[in-house]
Symmetry: C2
């Protein structure tokens, strides 16, 4: 196949993470993509590549595409709004009424069109996305995201209790709708879009529904995404709802929806205790740390330093519309800022996060959920974002590390000159 | 004078604060400016104004200009950088070496040019600005800011102890340089730019210098700006340096530089105790709350709810480069976010701040330092910013309050269609 043999060479200041401790930097290097994967990075182009056209981005930064492990597409419509409640009230007052609107395909078309366009123009190349309970609107979202060229997991949400009538699924109905959604997804033969099982969270899913979902998980070999230990009220509620559970995460684990035999993302984990964190580590659950959401919904601050020290897989999520923006640079900055406040106000034994650590989490850390993603090491999927930071230039020159640190605090889509996913260039218009 | 009789009429969705509790909103109203002041707001234009041209901004929002009570112009060059230290180390490692460069007027010209341009294009109409110890560079900054049309206070910094030799002034030299700076400012007859006395903070100023500055304060009837109780290490240090002081703020008050007989801004007040807050209130000191800086430098979170309950005058500051941006909408969002984390982690008796409260602080609250500024009430200086929020529009219509709330989380200079200061339109190009 011609497409597969294609070689792309980008030139610029290449920065990426092999580990959370340091950046790997090549000034004015050549980043070579072959068959959609990173073939290598060179300061001088090897002889064998002579004659291949080079796309020279001058003094731009070239970084791996950013990974958003947790975002709610239907909530994008009310991002930056209604920021005056805690989680459970916020769901009731803001989230559920908005999500109900996605029964109307015309509305969904409009709203998901804006969402997909803005995701396309962002620095994000990979995302794990919650839709709503509605099968047709979820298909529409998958179609739209497929067209962007971004590589995503998208989940039809399940909920059969503790939500308004207009959004509550009957248990059997929820399982059946999920099955027919999965069948329909299969037919579409997407290149970039995959389904992910998405029980909203324990309070909205009966034990019976969880059992049904496990059957589907096995039958379709699906990954799972959900929420965990975000808010104290939510944690106590789960204790009441599942008196048999050892801890909140155990209520997922009992149904085989907690990483042990299926890749799983759990968002938040602000209040995960020792046992829960130990189980997360053992089971290989990946945590989506969503710092802005945890601020906006007054949830608290997750002990991310602890996650890293324990060797728990950790990435970042925007959690729109708990978070206000799809701009994952902001999630990185918020992660550093939140960790500093946690250190100061709650626990001086956990050192604040560094720029290196949050960049790692926003690229290779979260990227692991997608395979070899989020780095420019050899053989990694070629997801790249080219940043022209001249808008934010100062009076003197800066080294590459400093320029990247500044991007974490100040970059938005205006800085993006080009974006590639799996070797293919994304239309940013 | 013709200029003085000029009437300007803007049409749009007018939003402003009379108090911290609610927005005052006129949908598709007429905002009338006469002689540089707000003459009134009308739903139907009165007969007497018939024939005056109307500038119709359609569905745009029109808000008062934002007020930045605390920003360091020389630090703008390293905004978003070096965010890995607490205050005192950060001053030593990042701030002092950069500030030293402003001895070089060529460098200052470049750096302050960028600063002034970006301030001009921001939603800020008023600011209280720290320069450096250097008189010529401070004059250059004042010249540049004067040209922007923004209305500002700018201070030559004083420091005669506890800083590197290359930045330490001799006590007498510091007082003399300040005097000749003030004389020079007088000669320039600025329309928009005023001097403000700027002892950096107690650790950098000897008692002798403070006494000299008080003489200048009286002689030139100057306002004062400085830092107060930002970091625990700083607070203990002041206790050592001034064993005679009752509390940190008392070390300014003993020299008559703490509000009692001169308008005074103190930035931060994260660790102000009961007595200090009581003195702040009694003396009418205005607090510049700088939430992003307090996150970035791991300082902590100021008890802003307490300030408001006590009736302390409170505004917002970006505190660049403790803060990363001159965008005061971000300062508002950070203020809400920080207050929520403080409520959750430190003190549930102080309720989080609302969108209404932070908008008030960022306009009328801080504006009070400048006179009748930061509101569209009759007779207030006509500082206005026109925001076109269509870039951030969603699938359905939103009410005006929601649109403003979204601006607080997501607006940047791209939204600004026009800006007026004291009735004069600012060039945004």
């Amino acid at each position: 196949m011609k497409e597969k043999e294609k070689v792309t060479i980008l030139k610029g200041n290449i920065v990426y993470s092999k580990n959370p401790k340091e950046f790997t930097i090549y000034e004015h290097g050549y980043l070579v993509c072959q068959d959609g994967k990173t073939e290598g990075i060179y300061q001088t182009l090897p002889f064998k590549l002579g004659g291949t056209p080079i796309r020279d981005f001058g003094d731009c930064l070239i970084i791996p595409g950013l990974v958003d492990l947790h975002i709610h597409a239907p909530q994008y419509a009310f991002r930056g709004l209604g920021m005056d409640m805690e989680l459970l009230d916020w769901l009731e007052a803001n989230t559920f009424p908005e999500e109900a609107r996605y029964e109307d395909l015309e509305y969904a078309k409009k709203a998901y069109g804006i969402f997909a366009d803005n995701m396309r123009r962002s620095a994000v190349t990979r995302a794990c996305i919650f839709a709503t309970i509605h099968r047709p609107a979820t298909m529409l979202l998958m179609d739209r995201m497929e067209k962007t060229g971004l590589d995503t997991y998208i989940g039809k949400v399940n909920m059969d209790r503790n939500c308004p009538d207009y959004l509550r699924e009957d248990t059997r109905e929820s399982a059946e709708a999920t099955l027919s959604w999965l069948k329909e997804v299969k037919k579409r033969n997407y290149q970039n879009t995959r389904p992910i099982l998405t029980p909203r969270f324990t309070p909205s899913c009966t034990d019976e529904l969880m059992e049904e979902l496990k059957k589907l998980q096995i039958r379709y070999d699906l990954p799972v995404q959900s929420h965990l230990s975000e808010n104290p009220g939510e944690v106590s509620w789960v204790k009441e709802l599942c008196p048999w559970s050892e801890f909140y995460g155990d209520a997922y684990d009992r149904f085989g929806l907690f990483g042990a035999d299926c890749p799983t993302i759990m968002a938040h984990c602000v209040y995960s205790g020792d046992k829960e964190l130990e189980r997360i580590r053992e089971n290989g659950v990946m945590i989506a740390h969503c710092p802005e959401s945890n601020m906006n919904l007054s949830s608290g601050i997750a002990p991310v330093r602890r996650f890293l020290e324990m060797g728990i897989k950790t990435g970042l999520g925007s959690d729109v519309a708990g978070g206000s923006t799809e701009n994952m640079f902001r999630a990185m900055a918020h992660a550093v800022q939140a960790s500093k406040l946690r250190w100061r106000l709650a626990d001086e034994t956990l050192a604040p996060l560094t720029a290196e650590e949050v960049f790692y989490m926003g690229t290779k850390g979260g990227g692991e959920f997608f395979g070899k993603v989020g780095s420019f090491e050899d053989g990694y999927d070629f997801d790249a974002v080219v940043l022209d930071d001249s808008r934010l230039a100062g009076p003197g020159p800066l080294d590459i590390r400093s320029r990247l640190e500044r991007m974490i605090y100040l970059a938005d889509e205006r800085e993006i000159r080009a974006k590639y996913v799996k070797g293919r260039e994304i239309d940013l218009s």
